[in-house]
């Protein structure tokens, strides 16, 4: 039997209250509805963005169809648009970023959550998070005048000399190119990956660590046999969140990647990303089809990052919800 206590015990409700629903008080009801409206606006906004961008790119969607993603021909003069070079540039620069950033970020997360002296954890964690506070455009400025010259004069010659047999490290050394883009993305996603990983590691039950310590494990063995297996899916989530950030990053990479819509094997060669082509060409685009094609690049970027974020959030949430000692 269920008892509606608010109905049976308190003074009888007015007709208005009964009409409006189960809340006992008009103010409470209004309060709930108003806040719900704004909460709902978050969902509406997300859907609206997808809708609006679909609308803006419909001309290009209808004109090029699926061929848009497989064509390498981007020629505003002839009104021909193919997005493959940008997809390629975005994917490869993000992969370069992951290769550099993932080991470093996991190292940071393990150091800060498992190894560091408790007094050091706060300040060190704060410094790593400051990396995320530096505006993208400031990284870009630094990239143009500090990183790219350094790559051109020291790093790229060295790579060409030692690993030059690989096609990745051949060709002219400009400093500006895929490598510079990947490195700057790596710097920018490191705080994301490491702080989410830290959260995931913190969610691992202490009992697991204690068990491993009790068996005589060294500190690294505790991490390897007790912490990492439990946190695995959450760490994958953290990496995917980092990937999502790398794919959508705009200013810094636009300033160092060279902005040429070519597909080249070498990491030294200039490239172009989806976000940079929008940033560079959108305000100067003339013609409906040109604008629509750029909007379609944006739609593609939006779709991919939203999908990645949904997937990653689900993974990260799962670790927090796992039963203690479960999933091993």
């Amino acid at each position: 039997m269920t008892v509606r206590s608010d109905v049976s015990l308190v003074r009888p409700r007015s007709k208005l209250q009964l009409m409006l629903g189960r809340e006992a008080n008009f103010g409470d009801l209004a309060f709930r509805r108003i806040t719900a409206l704004f909460a709902g606006s978050v969902i509406v906004l997300l859907l609206w963005m997808a809708w609006e961008m679909g609308l803006a790119s419909r001309l290009s969607l209808a004109h090029f169809g699926l061929g848009f993603i497989t064509s390498t021909d981007w020629d505003p003069v002839r009104d021909q648009y193919g997005g493959l070079p940008f997809v390629y540039g975005t994917v490869v620069s993000s992969l370069v970023a992951l290769v550099i950033a993932v080991p470093i970020s996991l190292g940071i997360a393990i150091y800060l959550s498992e190894l560091a002296h408790p007094k050091l954890r706060g300040p060190m964690g704060f410094l790593v998070e400051l990396l995320a506070a530096v505006p993208s455009v400031v990284y870009g400025l630094w990239g143009i005048f500090a990183l790219a010259p350094w790559l051109r004069e020291s790093v790229e010659p060295l790579l060409a000399k030692t690993l030059g047999f690989l096609p990745l490290f051949q060709g002219p050394q400009h400093g500006f190119g895929m490598l510079a883009g990947g490195i700057i993305l790596a710097i920018m996603i490191t705080p994301t990956v490491s702080s989410v990983s830290r959260e995931v590691l913190r969610a691992v039950p202490a009992a697991l660590r204690e068990g491993a310590i009790g068996l005589g494990a060294t500190r690294w063995e505790v991490v390897r046999v007790a912490v990492l297996p439990y946190a695995k899916s959450g760490l994958v989530g953290a990496i995917i969140l980092g990937l999502g950030r790398a794919l959508g990053e705009t200013m810094a990479i636009t300033m160092v990647i060279g902005n040429r819509s070519e597909i080249a094997a070498s990491l030294f060669a200039p490239s172009y990303t989806m976000a940079s082509v929008i940033a560079n060409e959108f305000t100067e685009a003339t013609g409906q089809l040109y604008l629509a094609a750029l909007a379609e690049v944006g739609l593609l970027l939006f779709g991919v990052t939203v999908a990645l974020n949904v997937f990653a959030r689900l993974l990260v949430w799962r670790v927090g919800k796992m039963p203690e000692g479960g999933q091993l």
Binding site: T35, A39, M53, G107, L131, A133, M251
Partner: protein
């Protein structure tokens, strides 16, 4: 246990090596931070003077001048973003903290998390086709709106998290005195959480103050002072970009100076946010 055995030595050696690698990784990650700070400080400090904050940019070829219009523009854009972004964000956050168990609330929370991962340039595209195409011109209003969209999920989630930290006993005391639930939430819960929420909002302001990509085709840029909110508006971040990719030495100097102003603002906001949170925790 045989402390001298080969296995024991190997295990502890591995432990040492891996631990040092973790420390090394942390140090390597911090190198770019200090390098950026160093470069911006050394190259930017020369361009900082009163003119920088009060003068308009000089045409190419003339040295001197400043970025007063961009400083003002950034303030204007951030102000508009706060105006559009903070109230809805706080209200949405209240909903999540107070009525957060429904399916709808979970969906909102999820959408907010996903939205914070949406590339800022696509937010710019969205506002362009929504506001700029409709009004037929770039404006501070459009730029502020784009930044507000970026702030919304941050403010929502911070408000929710901080409201949840307020002890439930405070609410119970208020309800026990016959205060309606909504007043208990606003007058007791929200007021208690307010300092923390303010710090969270400060951080989101710091974050959007440096945003460039969503402003490129919403607020656009302006070589002159802009009046009101209906004109294209200069901002520090967009000016850093346009100056940095220009071929002029003078413009580069201005870009570094602008970067110094922007970076210092962002760092001061971040450091003071942290300091405020720390002292509050200690006082408790």
């Amino acid at each position: 246990m045989n402390l001298g055995s080969a296995t024991y030595v190997r295990r502890h050696l591995t432990d040492r090596v891996v631990r040092s690698l973790c420390v090394l990784g942390t140090i390597v990650a911090l190198v770019p931070l200090f390098s950026v700070l160093w470069y911006v400080l050394v190259r930017g400090i020369g361009g900082i003077n009163l003119d920088f904050f009060t003068e308009l940019p000089k045409p190419v070829g003339e040295s001197g001048g400043g970025m007063g219009n961009a400083v003002l523009g950034t303030l204007k854009l951030v102000g508009l973003a706060g105006l559009f972004g903070i109230p809805p964000g706080v209200l949405a956050g209240i909903y999540l903290a107070e009525f957060g168990h429904s399916k709808f609330a979970r969906a909102v929370r999820f959408a907010a998390d996903v939205m914070s991962g949406v590339p800022s340039i696509t937010v710019g595209l969205f506002v362009y086709s929504l506001v700029v195409v409709t009004t037929k011109h770039f404006s501070a209003l459009a730029g502020g709106f784009a930044l507000a969209i970026l702030m919304l999920p941050m403010v929502t989630r911070t408000t929710e998290e901080l409201l949840k930290l307020v002890p439930e006993s405070l609410r119970e005391a208020a309800l026990g005195l016959g205060v309606p639930k909504w007043r208990a939430t606003l007058r007791i819960m929200l007021r208690t959480a307010l300092p923390g929420i303010a710090v969270g909002i400060m951080l989101s302001v710091a974050r959007v103050a440096g945003e460039t990509a969503p402003l490129l085709f919403t607020a656009f840029n302006n070589r002159f002072w802009s009046t009101g909110v209906n004109e294209p508006t200069a901002s520090l971040s967009v000016n850093i970009y346009t100056n940095a990719v220009s071929p002029y030495e003078d413009w580069h100097r201005q870009a570094w100076a602008a970067a110094l102003v922007l970076l210092m603002t962002v760092l001061v906001l971040n450091v003071s946010a942290r300091f405020l949170v720390r002292t509050r925790v200690r006082a408790r």
